[in-house]
Structure formats: C-alpha cells, structure tokens
Symmetry: C2
Subunit: 87 residues, 2 copies
Amino acid sequence: MYVILVYDMDKRRVGKMLKLCRQYLNWIQNSVFEGAITEVKLKELIAEAKLMMDEETDSLIIFKSREEHWLEKEVVGREKNELDNLL
Amino acid sequence: MYVILVYDMDKRRVGKMLKLCRQYLNWIQNSVFEGAITEVKLKELIAEAKLMMDEETDSLIIFKSREEHWLEKEVVGREKNELDNLL
C-alpha cells in the first residue's frame, strides 16, 4: 500500500510527531510524508500517533492508494529531500 | 482528475496561496487541499501559484489520481470542514 500522510498538530507536539512519522515514511514537505507501508505498520503508526495527539484540536489525514503508480506527483519549487539528508 | 495539494510557503505569502487554492479545491487541513479538477484548471492554478512563490524556498506538491476511488482517506482527530464553513 502507498500512502500520503499529512498532520496539523499543536507546536508542542509537532516534533514528536515528525520523529514518529519518519520512522515509517519519507518526509517530503513540512508536515507531509509519503511511502510504501503495510497495513499492519500503518495501524501501528496510527495507534502511536493517537497516543500523542489531542484529537479535539490536532489532525492527521492519511490517503491510501493500493498502487503507487496510481498517483502521479508534481513538485513546484523546493524539494525537501536535499534538506532532509542534512538533518 | 482528483488531486491532493500541499504547500509550504513563507508566512508572508501563505494567505495569498490559501486564497488561491480555495478557488479551485477543498481545504481539508492547514496547508492541504483536495478535490476534483480538470487538467486545464490545474495548469491555471499552478501558473498562478508560481507567480506568488519563491521557488528557491517555497514548495508546492500535487498528487494526481485519475480516479477519486483509487484513494481512500482516513482522518484521525479534528476535521477541518467544520471550521472551514465558518470562515
């Protein structure tokens, strides 16, 4: 399965969430991740995310696609990966 | 065509970008939009976005899917639409 994950968290929790998501997916922009992941691993990621979220105010959205080639990506402007490698 | 659009812009330009994207797509989270759009309209949106972006520092990523049902969406926590209607 191929997923795009986006989150909108309170500043106090955003660092933890970034760290968690980077364990499972590729960081491609500010609060956006993508990558191939199994159903089991995705459930694990969501369960861990829920533990650190305030579900009243924070938001996590996951778009799932069965096949990566069903999604075409177009990037305008800066590409995150150059930066990501430095962190 | 169905798209997910995410941007990461300098604070000074973020309001303009939000306004532009809301003319074409549905706002679902902080800097994330989704919706059905034609190829022509998407080109128009990207051209207008480029005019206001600094392509060295700002980033705009668009994921395109030919069919909406190829993408399944899961939301954890707050849903933006409640808020969006108030703005």
